[in-house]
Structures are given as C-alpha cells and as structure tokens.
C-alpha cells in the first residue's frame, strides 16, 4: 500500500473500527491489537500511543511536507492511533493537522490542544482559532500549556467543559519545568489530564507526579519520549539487547516506548515523527507484552551503562 496516498476508505475503515472497539479489540484487518488505556475521570479508553506535532508538523505552506504529514497521520490512524496533540506555540502545526484531517476525510481523532497565552482574556479567542485550524467541532482535551496563566485559563476551561465545548481539561509541562507548582495544581484542581516529560532517562516524575496522578485519578500524557530525538540518535549505534524480544521490542524506539507505557500511571505517550515507518513502529509499541517491574529495572540499568 502506498501510504503517501492512503485511500479514504482505508482510513475510515480503520477509524470506524477503532471507534467501535473496546479494550484491545481488533480494529481492522490491517491494524494490530492496540493497547487501550482508560481515562480515569470518565472510563473512556484511548490507544496508548498518540502523535505529537512539536516541530515535526510545523512545515508552513510547503505542499510536499504537508502531504508527508498527512501520510504520517494516515499511517497513524490506520495503525490504530487516535490522540493527536498540538499547541498554538507549534507554529503551523495546527493548520497542518487540519489539512491532514480534511485530506483523510475527518478520521475519528482524539484532539488534544493547548491554550498558550499570558492573558486569560485572550484564551477563548485563541482556542477558537485553534479549533478553526483543526476543522473539528470541538476539542476533546484542552490543556494549559506549560502552566502559562493557569489560574485564568482553568476557570475558562471548566466553564467550557460545563458547557460541553471541551470534554477534558488538563495542564502541561515539559522537560522538568516547574514541577513544584505543577504538583500543587494537580493537588488542588479538578484535572482530567496532565502532560509531562518522561522517558527511560528522564525519570524524575516517577518520584512524585506519576504517583500523584494515579492517586488523584488523572490521566497522564507523556511528551518527548525520545528527548526530541536525542535519545534515539544516541542509541543508534548500539545493539538492542537480545532480551528486548521478550517484551516484543524490535527497535530502540519501541524499547523506550514500552518502558514508558509500562508505568501504571501513564495513559498515552505522544512521540512525534515525520516518517511513516516510525509512526507505525511507535503505535506497534503499544501492543504485545509490556515489561514488568523487574524488566523495567533491567531496561533502565542497561541504558544507563551504555
């Protein structure tokens, strides 16, 4: 199949099957069984691998690169993925997502967006602009980006949730920024989601934020699972250990994603990529066996000694 030009029927078939599926049920003839994770606040399940768009989808008006992004989205949906995450901070990523969704015939995406402005009064206008870029009737999840003006924005988001304009509310941070405040907001606000950086090397969130999310019933989105590609680049020349096959990991990317997804508090990881083969590989990481605690320790120790 030429994934640069996916048929609308193929995409819709995969998406429709996904929408009808429950936990880890077959989604289509082509799609593997995808690990589904519940959103604690609602019980709704979503595939455990999402798609980030930071840098990768910021391609402006370039028609060639836009089509490449749409091909990545097509492969993502076809493999069983659903959550796509973006932000007004990500340049042209939002209109590029909208282009892809339109091209693919509006597949059933779980839309995760952010509000990113220092002034609470600008939030509604920015979110409406984001919605127009995506071309969706409403967002599934709206997050306060990096806690910027979080008090004002959360007030707005709660009101929007009440009015049915957004289904879930969350906050984000990345690369270990402002974890103390993040924890405080997690403790006192009624959040459905938090988004944090977590991977086999950056494990600070295991101490407080991940256990807290579990205790408070907050879904966790993991961003920058590959340290923006630095981690996978660093591991490129290294041999994958033989025992990686025990957890069904056939690449370093799958090795890392399986480590992340095996943490019981993690709901979705959102690796970003510009490549169709990588997006398939990423979604496939959310299928098959996941490491247990002993294997997780072994994996982390192995990476540490490289």
């Amino acid at each position: 199949m030429d994934f640069r030009q996916p048929t609308r029927r193929a995409v819709l078939a995969g998406g429709a099957a996904l929408a009808a599926s429950a936990v880890a049920s077959p989604v289509s003839a082509q799609a593997p069984q995808v690990l589904m994770r519940p959103i604690p606040s609602s019980g709704e399940t979503i595939p455990a691998t999402g798609l980030g768009t930071w840098i990768t989808f910021n391609v402006g008006n370039d028609p060639v690169l836009r089509d490449e992004c749409a091909a990545v989205m097509a492969a993502f949906f076809e493999a069983g993925g659903r959550m796509i995450d973006s932000s007004p901070m990500y340049g042209s990523s939002q209109p590029v997502i909208g282009y892809g969704l339109e091209k693919l015939g509006s597949p059933p995406v779980f839309s995760a967006e952010k509000v990113w402005t220092s002034w609470g009064s600008n939030g509604p206008e920015q979110m409406e602009q984001s919605r127009r870029y995506w071309g969706v009737p409403h967002f599934d999840l709206m997050q306060v980006h990096n806690l910027l003006a979080w008090q004002d924005h959360l007030k707005t988001l709660y009101a929007m949730k009440e009015a049915g304009q957004v289904r879930y509310v969350g906050i984000t941070t990345s690369e270990g920024r402002r974890h103390d405040l993040f924890e405080e907001v997690m403790r006192k606000e009624r959040l459905d989601f938090v988004q944090i950086t977590y991977n086999i090397v950056d494990r600070e969130v295991e101490e407080r934020l991940l256990p807290l999310a579990r205790d408070r019933g907050i879904a966790v989105i993991v961003n920058r699972p590959f340290q923006q590609g630095d981690l996978t680049r660093r591991l490129e020349g290294e041999e994958l250990p033989e025992w990686a096959s025990e957890i069904g990991a056939s690449s370093w990317a799958q090795f890392i994603l399986k480590f992340i997804l095996s943490h019981p508090a993690v709901t979705v990881a959102i690796p970003a990529t510009t490549r169709v083969d990588h997006v398939r590989e990423n979604v496939a990481a959310a299928s098959g066996p996941l490491p247990d605690e002993a294997m997780r320790q072994r994996m982390a120790a192995y990476i540490e000694q490289l």
Partner: protein, 224 residues
Amino acid sequence: MSEWWGYRLSDFLLFSPRAYWRLLELHNEALWPLPLLTLAAGLLAGGLALLRPKAASRVIPLLLAVLWAWVAWSFFWNRYATINWAAIYVAPIFALQAMLLFVLGGPRQVDPDGRGWWRAIVVTLLAVALLYPLLAPLSGRPWSQAEIFGMAPDPTATGTLALLLLTRARWCVLLFPIPVLWCLASGITLGAMDASLAWVPPFAALAACALAIAQPRKAARPRV
C-alpha cells in the same frame, strides 16, 4: 511573566532544519528569476562602492533600502512567519533598517583610499555576501536552497555591513546595529539547527564591527 524563565533557546526553535531549508527553496522558486535580479543589484552596489562614481552616494543606500524592505515583506512577513511566529516581529525591524538606510545612508565625504589591507578585508566581506549561495552546496544542500543577497536575510545583512564600510556611510552607529544583531541571532538559530556553517553570519558581523572600529581615519590617535 516568570513562566517564560523556564524556556531554553532550543525551545524556541519551532521547526526542523529540513522545513527551514525547504522554505528557502520555495522562496527562491516562487520568485524566480527575481533572485538573479537581487544578486545583480548587489553586484551593482558593490561595483559602485568600489568605483565610486558620483551617483554611488545615493544609489547604494537606495538599493539597500529597497532590498531590506523587500526581505522584510517577502521573506519575514510572507514566508518565514509561516513556521516561526517570531518572524512577524522581525519584519518591522527589517523595515526600520530600510527606512534608516533611506534617510541616513548617504556616504561620508572623506578620503576614500584608506589602507589597502582594510579595504581588501571589506571587499572580501562583500564577496562573502554575494557568494553566499555557495554555502548551500558546501553544506550539502542543493543549489535550490541557496541563500541569495537581497532575498534571504543573512547575505543581505552581511553585504549591507560591507557596503556601509566601503562607502564610509554616515551614521554607522545607527545603521550597524540591526544587521549586526540579525547576524548574531541568525548564528544562534543556525547553531540550534546544527547547521555546519552557523558561524558564518556572526563571524561576518563581528568582522564588520572590528573593521568599523579599525577603519582608517585622517588623523591617527596618539598611542598611550
């Protein structure tokens, strides 16, 4: 605004190197053969600066003013802003430089000969700006992604600095900051992109500053 403190420079690099170089390629393609004309304008300005006919005093700053305004509008406002929202704020700064060149860009009436070595280095700097397209193949990129004087900001800023030096422009203290700051900012951006020749724009800017300080004067200051 303490929220901003948590960001690093690399967090503001919103695009991949591929998206940036493709942007330049689309820019050149969309406006072809205009890149040839802007490059010819650069050659003309360089020729006038070296030969110093009477018209040079007015033509060179006018040419530069037009090119800076063009880069502000066509590159920053229309093109670069599609992948970098900060470009919207850079466009007016380039437009301001165009205005400054238009208003203040006339040459100083001084002895034009100067010291040979100084002049040779400034001419080399101008040559770097006009030969900037060569950096594309030298960096392993195709010619179609070349940065061209009058089309892309880096060679335009570098060439402007050289021309200001060659023509001994008045008000250099006002005409230098924007191209110098742009070259430094561009070097940082290219460095964040891991571009192999990221050092070129800041090196050119620092060289221009050094040349401005060392430019020959009628009376040398006594040594202490």
